[in-house]
Amino acid sequence: MIRPTPAPAPAEYHQRDRARHPPALTPPYKTSVARSPRLALLSLQQSMSEITGPVFGHTDIDPIDNDLIRNYAKTGDPVGERIIVHGRVLDENARPVPNTLVEIWQANAGGRYRHKKDTYLAPIDPNFGGCGRTLTDAEGYYHFRTVKPGAYPWRNHVNNWRPAHIHVSVFGSSFSQRLITQMYFEGDPLIPICPIVNTIPDPAAIDQLIAPLDMNAGIALDCLAYKFDIVLRGRRSTLFENRLEGN
């Protein structure tokens, strides 16, 4: 007997594999010691509160917001290695995540952030703000133009240096996909000795945060490119009913 196909019902997202993410308590990253819960997380089956999330559109942002070489330029271009960072936002089922907000922030070429709390002696670049944002297209693609950030020292052990990195924030289609991570650059020797990188227990998971040089996407005589794909939680197919709510 052929069963009737059930009406499409909202489905939950795959359970987050927390063995792949850093645990909360990672003592070599010292700040985590006092900022990590000691008790277990409470796991939820998802409801409407978890499978929904904010929706953004082109009225929220401006086209120049993804161009960090131009979006804070006052007297000329910023100093540094000109790069394109591009890639796709996909889910664990390899489906593109379209029209989702991607936000990035970073230090300048010398490793200095434009932030009142950053007192590193490397100078501010008057033509570089260090933040950008964009929406993925229908196929999940995004791209930014920026300068490659410099490494910088931080007070953890006295001689800790962050590898060059760009912070990345992604929303996805629901609040349960919300993710902040960091993108690193292929070949950086600071990556294996960084306590923040090494909060991630799985070497293969660390590799997922390292963007390869992408010569095909660079522009000759203008800029290099790095490719950084981002994977968000996938979504269960509704093979059998176990519905979220009363519809």
């Binding site: 850093p22 990590s36 409470l42 796991s43 929904t52 912070h167 991630i200 997922q208």
Partner: protein, 236 residues
């Protein structure tokens, strides 16, 4: 070897770091770069419902306020509708009601606050619904009407706001929920609060109505990352 599954793996999380404001709230970091910063207006001007103010601090395991935290909130409108296409009633949400907000703490005090409308109850999972005999007929009817469907009883979650916290030292964003202490009856029946085995820990998710400000109800919701009265955090 069995067949491979071929799922991709979620990108691992990393801390937002100390300068998260540059990317997500540059105005607060001390410079203007975008025409508009996102997340400042949760409810918009036209949403019905009780306007409220919520404030609090996030404290670390030593009891000190965390002064570089960034919070995002996600909620339904006063009728329990989410501004998202998968909510069957999203078309009825008032224009300008986003349901999402982003706030940072005061760099000196650690205090954060936001203004919004108090959310209404949201449908719970059917898997968690009570036996039909536990639901009063009048309640069934009201709930069915509110959803516009009419034949199934629906259990509701108590009004709540989903909260997501990132900061330096937090390796993966912490999720929690804020409930309201003046919704005692709904809270007592809430399926998520009732999942918390140690009943006294449910109190860590209650915002306490402490008075009024600018003529609006003021709620206090402090979040304790670790130690005594540690807030319940969720794996969504």
């Amino acid at each position: 070897m069995p067949q491979p599954l071929h799922y991709l793996k979620e990108s691992p999380s990393q801390t937002a770091g100390p300068y998260v404001h540059i990317g997500l709230a540059p105005g607060a970091a001390g410079f203007d770069i975008y025409r508009q910063e996102l997340g400042r207006d949760i409810a918009g001007p036209n949403a019905e419902g009780q306007r409220i103010i919520v404030e609090g601090v996030v404290t670390d395991g030593t009891g000190a306020p965390v002064k570089d935290v960034l919070l995002e909130v996600w909620q339904a409108d006063a009728q329990g509708r989410h501004a998202h296409p998968e909510d069957p009633r999203h078309a009825e949400v008032a224009q300008g009601f986003r349901g999402w907000g982003r706030v940072i703490t005061d760099f000196d005090t650690g205090l954060w606050s936001f203004r919004t409308v108090k959310p209404g109850p949201v449908p719970a999972r059917r898997a968690l619904a009570p036996h039909p005999e536990e639901v009063r007929p009048a309640e069934q009817e009201e709930q069915a009407d509110a959803l516009g469907r009419g034949h199934q009883q629906v259990r509701r979650m108590a009004p709540h706001i989903t909260v997501w916290i990132v900061a330096r030292g937090i390796n993966i964003g912490l999720n929690t929920r804020m409930y309201f202490d003046d919704e005692a009856e709904a809270n007592a029946a809430d399926p998520v609060l009732n999942l918390i085995e140690q009943a006294h820990r449910r109190d860590t998710l209650l915002a306490r109505r402490t008075g009024e400000r600018d003529g609006l109800p003021l709620y206090r919701f402090d979040i304790r990352l670790q130690g005594e009265d540690e807030t319940v955090f969720l794996d969504l």
